[in-house]
C-alpha cells in the first residue's frame, strides 16, 4: 500500500517515508515474531499519538463543515448542538454529570429510534420469508448438484429444520431440559457449523491483510512492481 504513488518514488523524502513505514511495520511485528521490546513500545506509542492527533483534526474539520460554517452563515439553530456538545464534558465532573444527560439523550435517541424502526423488515421478516420460500426448479445457488431439475429440496429442508433448532437454542428464559433439550443441542450444532464457515471466511480475510503487508515489504525492496 504505497499511498497514492503509482511508481517507485524518486523524491528522497518519499523514499525515506516508505522506509520509515517499513521500519515501523517490522517494529510492530517484532512483538509476535520475537517478543515485546522497546522498539515495539516506541512504535506502539507513535501510533497512539498519531491516531489521537489525526482523529481530533479530522473530527474538528467535520465539525467546522457541518456546524461552525452554517452557524457563521446565520443559522443560529446550530448553536444548540454545539452547546450540548460542550455539555458532554460535564461527564468528567462527577457532581455536574447530570448536565451530560441531555446530549446523550439525543445521541442515543436518534440512533436507537432509527435502528429499531427499520430493523424488523430486513432482519426478521425478510429472513422468515426467505426460509419458507420453496426452492425454484434448477436453482444453482441452492442446489447440492448444480441445476438439479426439481430445485434443491435437500438444502431447503436443511435450512428450514436448522433455523427452527437454532432459534430454539436461543430461548433464554426457559431451561433447556426435557423434550426441548435434543432440539437445542441440534440447534447448537447448526450454530457451530455457521461459526465454522465464519471462521473459514475470517481466515481468508486475515491472511489477505497479512499478505498485503508482505507484498509491501517486497514493494519497498523493489522486488515487485508498486
Amino acid at each position: 500500500m504505497i499511498a497514492n504513488i503509482a511508481a517507485y518514488p524518486t523524491d528522497p523524502l518519499a523514499i525515506l517515508g516508505i522506509w520509515v513505514a517499513l521500519f515501523l511495520m517490522l517494529a510492530i511485528y517484532s512483538y509476535p515474531l520475537y517478543k515485546e521490546n522497546p522498539v515495539y513500545r516506541f512504535a506502539e506509542h507513535t501510533f497512539v499519538a498519531t491516531s489521537l492527533a489525526i482523529g481530533i483534526v479530522v473530527n474538528l474539520t467535520s465539525l467546522r463543515n457541518s456546524a461552525i460554517t452554517p452557524l457563521m452563515g446565520g443559522n443560529f439553530l446550530y448553536l444548540i448542538p454545539i452547546i450540548l456538545g460542550f455539555c458532554m464534558y460535564f461527564l468528567l465532573i462527577p457532581k455536574q454529570r447530570w448536565v451530560s444527560r441531555y446530549p446523550i439523550a439525543i445521541l442515543v435517541g436518534s440512533s436507537l429510534g432509527l435502528g429499531i424502526a427499520s430493523n424488523p423488515l430486513p432482519s426478521i421478516i425478510s429472513q422468515v420469508i426467505s426460509t419458507i420460500t420453496a426452492p425454484k426448479a434448477g436453482t444453482a445457488l441452492w442446489a447440492w448438484f448444480p441445476g438439479s431439475p426439481t430445485g434443491d429440496w435437500f438444502s431447503f429442508a436443511f435450512v428450514a429444520v436448522g433455523c427452527i433448532c437454532s432459534m430454539m437454542y436461543f430461548l433464554l428464559t426457559y431451561e433447556h431440559t426435557g423434550a426441548v433439550k435434543p432440539v437445542t443441542i441440534a440447534g447448537r450444532y447448526f450454530i457451530m457449523l455457521a461459526l465454522g464457515a465464519y471462521f473459514g471466511n475470517t481466515v481468508l480475510f486475515r491472511f489477505s491483510m497479512l499478505a498485503e503487508r508482505g507484498q509491501y515489504i517486497l514493494k519497498v525492496l523493489g522486488l515487485v512492481p508498486i
Partner: protein
C-alpha cells in the same frame, strides 16, 4: 397499502413492532410485580468466581475489557454489549475487591469511562473498601482500536494476569487478546453478540456467552427485572417466529404461498 393508513413502509413491520413493544411492556410489568422469570443457567457466568479465585491464589491481576464497541456507547449495535460488559464488570470487581485481587479495565470507548469508574467505585464501596479503588486501573484509548490493542497485548505480556474476562462488543482485538491470554496460560471467559468474533472467542476462551446470552447473563447478574421481563417478551416473539416458520414450511411443501403474501403486506 390500506387506504385509511397512510404508511411509509410495510404494515407488517409496524405490526411486529407494536406487538413487540406490547409484549415487552406486559412482561416488564409482570416481572416488576413479582412474577418469577428465571433466566436459564449459563456455565460462563458460573465460572467467573472460579476465575477470580484463581487470580487470588496466584497473586496475579485480572484483565477485563469490553472490546472496541465501535468506540462509542451510542453505537446501537455495540452500545448494549458494552453496557452489558460493564454491568458484569461490576460483579467481577466486587469479587475482586472481596479477595483483594487487582482488576484492570482496558477500553477505547471514551464516553464509557465515567460509567466504568462509577461502577468499579460502587463495587469497592459495596465491599466496604472504597479507598482500594484506583481510577488509573480504568484505562481508555480514545476511540482507537489499534492503540488499545497494542497496549493490552503489552500489558498482558508484562503483568501476566491469571484470568482474562472479555465481555462486550469485540472486533478483531478479541483474537489477539485471547491468544495473548492463551500464551501465558490465563483462564479466559468471553461473551459477545458480534458474530464475526464468535468463532475465535469460542476457540480461544474456556467459557463463552453467545449472542443474546451476554445480555441475559448481565440482566441475571444485575437482577434487572426490566431486562428479564423483556427477555421473556423476546422469547414469546421467538415462539411467534418459530410458529410462522413451521406453518410456512408446511405450506411451502404443498406449494401454497399465502403466508408469504401476508408477510409482504
Amino acid at each position: 397499502m390500506g387506504v385509511w393508513i397512510i404508511l411509509d413502509t410495510k404494515f407488517i413491520a409496524l405490526l411486529l413492532l407494536i406487538a413487540s413493544f406490547a409484549l415487552f411492556y406486559a412482561y416488564m410489568r409482570l416481572a416488576k410485580g413479582g412474577m418469577k422469570i428465571k433466566v436459564r443457567t449459563f456455565p460462563a457466568v458460573a465460572a467467573i468466581p472460579e476465575a477470580i479465585g484463581r487470580a487470588a491464589e496466584m497473586g496475579k491481576p485480572v484483565y477485563y475489557s469490553t472490546g472496541m464497541g465501535q468506540g462509542t456507547l451510542n453505537n446501537q449495535g455495540n452500545g448494549p454489549q458494552t453496557l452489558a460488559g460493564i454491568s458484569i464488570l461490576g460483579y467481577a470487581t466486587r469479587l475482586c475487591a472481596k479477595s483483594g485481587v487487582k482488576i484492570t479495565y482496558f477500553t477505547p470507548i471514551a464516553d464509557s469511562l465515567p460509567l466504568v469508574e462509577e461502577t468499579m467505585r460502587t463495587a469497592y464501596m459495596a465491599e466496604g473498601k472504597p479507598d482500594d479503588f484506583d481510577p488509573t486501573t480504568a484505562i481508555n484509548f480514545q476511540n482507537e482500536q489499534s492503540p488499545y490493542l497494542t497496549a493490552s497485548l503489552g500489558w498482558i505480556q508484562r503483568e501476566k494476569p491469571a484470568s482474562a474476562l472479555l465481555f462486550g462488543g469485540f472486533y478483531y482485538e478479541s483474537v489477539c487478546i485471547a491468544e495473548a491470554g492463551n500464551t501465558i496460560g490465563a483462564m479466559q471467559i468471553g461473551g459477545t453478540a458480534n458474530t464475526h468474533q464468535l468463532p475465535f472467542m469460542i476457540a480461544a476462551c474456556d467459557y463463552m456467552l453467545i449472542m443474546e446470552e451476554l445480555y441475559a447473563a448481565s440482566a441475571e447478574i444485575s437482577g434487572n427485572s426490566d431486562v428479564i421481563g423483556s427477555l421473556r417478551g423476546e422469547d414469546i416473539l421467538k415462539f411467534l417466529v418459530l410458529i410462522s416458520l413451521g406453518v410456512g414450511i408446511i405450506l411451502a411443501l404443498v406449494g401454497n404461498t399465502s403466508l408469504i403474501g401476508l408477510l409482504k403486506v
